[in-house]
């Protein structure tokens, strides 16, 4: 396809901000989405929090972990996966409804557009994570240690970092997607394997989970929230960070190549 001479390094931060704001606004206005994520979160927390406790005792690096805290942190990380990928894929909706053309014809670099969208979805994902953590704290899954406040505050940047790579996946897919039907495929072949093979809900042997980049984000969540993790935290940070950077780059590339539909 053609190169359109729009890969300019300059980033218009006002534009990034307004695009991110648009994302957050649409999240806030879509009340059904907020409510459904609340209800779904509660259901997951309830089932896994109790279920895990009844079936086995999660042990990380030889340390016994409260099954409810194990479930709470895993589910909070899992939310990133769902919100991030489908948030990134909202670009597809813009493509379908023509708004993408308005964005692409504007005198801003595609990098700006891409960044705006990524930041917007990442912030939105962060909010969702906070909702889940808030819920689990409210029902006492994490105990009532005062340290918890610091842990929850620390999870905010971690959630942001972890969501970058996931949003990148969503962006990459949606710029190449041509129809809505493929959504199911993505659910089956990307979201589900990444979720179940990460040990977020049910602990799996490290030999299986270590090949899944999302595992390290989940692990980072556990490290921050519970203080214990399968991998050293610096490895978690390193892999989550580079995975995020890589996917954002790939996403930016396919975004640059995208041509406008009529």
């Amino acid at each position: 396809m053609s190169d359109l001479n729009i890969e300019k390094a300059k980033i218009n931060y006002n534009a990034v901000w307004i695009l991110a704001k648009r994302e957050l606004l649409s999240f806030w206005r879509n009340k059904s989405r907020v409510i459904s994520s609340l209800v779904q979160g509660l259901l997951f927390l309830f089932v896994f929090g109790i279920g895990i406790g009844l079936s086995f005792n999660p042990i990380i690096q030889g340390i016994y972990v409260d099954p409810r805290a194990f479930a709470g942190s895993g589910i909070a990380a899992m939310v990133i996966l769902f919100t991030g990928i489908f948030g990134g894929m909202a670009i597809f909706r813009d493509k379908m409804f023509g708004f993408m053309k308005e964005l692409l014809v504007a005198p801003v670099s595609r990098r700006t557009l891409m960044l705006g969208r990524t930041v917007g979805v990442a912030l939105q994902t962060m909010l969702q994570v906070l909702i889940i953590i808030g819920l689990s704290v409210a029902i006492g899954y994490f105990g009532n240690d005062l340290n918890l406040i610091w842990r929850v505050l620390l999870i905010i940047p971690v959630a942001f970092l972890a969501s970058l790579g996931i949003v990148g996946i969503g962006l990459t897919i949606s710029t190449r997607l041509r129809d809505m039907q493929s959504f199911g495929l993505i659910q089956t072949f990307i979201v589900m394997p990444m979720m179940w093979l990460s040990g977020a809900l049910i602990p799996l042997p490290i030999q299986i989970t270590m090949y899944n980049p999302f595992t390290y984000s989940v692990d980072l969540f556990r490290f921050v929230l519970l203080g214990v993790s399968y991998f050293p935290f610096w490895l978690d940070l390193l892999i989550s960070g580079s995975f995020g950077a890589l996917l954002i780059l790939i996403g930016a590339r396919s975004f640059n190549k995208m041509e406008i539909s009529q």
Binding site: L4, N5, I18, L104, V105, P107, E259, S261
Partner: protein, 441 residues
């Protein structure tokens, strides 16, 4: 500084996948303050041209300057110089009108105070200031269009691109949008407008100059007046009194064609495309049967319900012929069918027949196509002769209307033949269109 705000030279666009030649070596210039229309049927290459000028597509060959900036090299400056209203809606329905405009203003680097003033100004211009805080998804099609025009004007572009601005809008809304467009062009800033359309009346009404495109090529470019002048002669529309013996019409057409100066005769008037009388054409390769023979067969079939049922069942064309037939004819046919016979009739026709029997159908203008359109040199001189020919055949004339050719006549003159060609190998044309659509995505 040149007077021209848009210069296009030898522009060519090939969609590589599928080797579709969408724009084929076109050149034109648009002067400052002009309203310029690209007119052409679907798939003529209008949208591709406008997309290249708007830096949304790159050209395969050739050069295009907008506001003296090259669209390939200075795309950012070109983008700031243009406002664009796309063919399909491109506003975000989940945001309020104001927010849509604000986002646009920020993307175009407008400062806060300037932004607010300007948004109010353009909203007022398109009469949407009281709906600024409505979610755009609750707007009607016309309001969305107006909002898009407002958005296109927000950053004070030098050129406004309008891609089919009134597609799918009702007549009043179209009229309103036309007025807005004219107003814009007349105001002090005198914005240049490039409009693509396939509506003749739209181009005629708005454009200073019209460029007719087809198959990616420019086939004519001039003012509306001059284009019309190229079609010399007059158009005569004749409305006939109700005709009972419809088969006489082809004979009249043949006779009228022989009158010196007559160039073309067709059924229906040139104003409005009324559905044609069953226009019987003998497929190629059939043995030479005289029209009289065919008409005799049709009359025979029409007088025998059993044969009619047979025809409806075996020849799909006859179903359409019946459904399009004038009401008196339908009545005549309906009288031949009793309850028992009706059961054998195909469903869609039975419904129609029952309606006719109950008298539910009312005769409308469209039902009675009894007019012919003649294009002719020196119409005034030949008119008596034409009328005489019609009189000789025992038909009565209701009205005669002679006028100068309209833009539609011009358009059909240039593009008409190729459309007909595409009809004959319809699938090929559609294939090409589908190909182009997919490639644009």
């Amino acid at each position: 500084m040149t007077e021209n705000i848009i210069e296009v030279k030898n522009l060519t666009k090939i969609y590589e996948e599928g080797n579709v030649l969408a724009v084929d070596d076109i050149s034109f210039t648009i002067k400052k303050g002009e309203i310029f229309a690209l007119l052409g049927p679907n798939g003529a290459g209008k949208t591709t041209t406008i997309s290249i000028l708007a830096t949304l597509l790159s050209s395969t060959e050739g050069k295009a300057l907008v506001n003296n900036y090259d669209v390939d090299k200075d795309s950012d400056k070109v983008r700031k110089s243009i406002g664009i209203v796309f063919q399909e809606p491109s506003v975000d329905g989940d945001m309020k009108a104001w927010e849509n405009l604000e986002l646009h203003a920020i993307l175009y680097g407008m400062l806060k105070r300037e932004r607010q003033e300007k948004i109010n100004e353009v909203l007022k211009l398109v009469d949407l200031e009281d709906r600024a805080n409505t979610f755009v998804k609750n707007y009607s099609g016309g309001m969305k269009r107006r909002l898009e025009i407002a958005r296109g004007l927000l950053h004070e572009p030098k050129v406004l691109f309008l891609d089919e601005p009134t597609l799918g809008l009702d007549p009043q809304t179209r009229r309103k949008i036309w007025d807005k467009i004219k107003e814009l062009n007349k105001s002090e800033s005198k914005i240049t407008i490039l409009i693509t359309t396939h509506y003749m009346d739209e181009a005629d009404e708005l454009a200073d100059r019209i460029c007719i495109m087809d198959h990616g090529k420019i086939i004519a470019m001039d003012t509306s007046e001059n284009l019309k002048k190229q079609l010399s002669g007059d158009v005569i529309d004749i409305q006939l009194e109700e005709i009972k013996e419809r088969f006489k019409i082809p004979r009249i057409i043949n006779q009228v064609k022989e009158i010196p100066g007559v160039k073309n005769v067709s059924l229906g008037t040139s104003e409005g495309n009324q559905p044609m009388m069953p226009n019987i054409q003998i497929p190629k390769g059939m043995p030479n049967i005289s029209p009289e023979m065919i008409q005799a067969r049709i009359r025979e079939t029409l007088s025998d319900p059993k044969k009619l049922i047979m025809a409806w069942k075996k020849m799909p064309m006859t179903t359409a012929m019946f459904l399009n037939a004038p009401l008196p004819m339908k009545k005549q046919i309906a009288e031949m069918f009793d309850e028992k016979l009706l059961e054998e009739v195909p469903d869609n026709i039975r419904e129609e027949l029952i309606k006719v029997k109950k008298g539910e159908l009312e005769e409308t203008e469209v039902d009675s196509i009894n007019s012919i359109s003649i294009s002719c040199e020196n119409g005034g001189k030949q008119l008596p002769m034409i009328i005489q020919k019609i009189g000789e055949n025992g038909l009565k004339i209701k009205t005669v209307n002679m006028h100068q050719p309209t833009l539609e006549d011009v358009f059909l003159h240039y593009v008409g033949t190729s459309i007909r060609e595409e009809n004959s190998n319809h699938t090929k044309g559609i294939k090409k269109m589908i190909q182009m659509r997919q490639l644009r995505k």
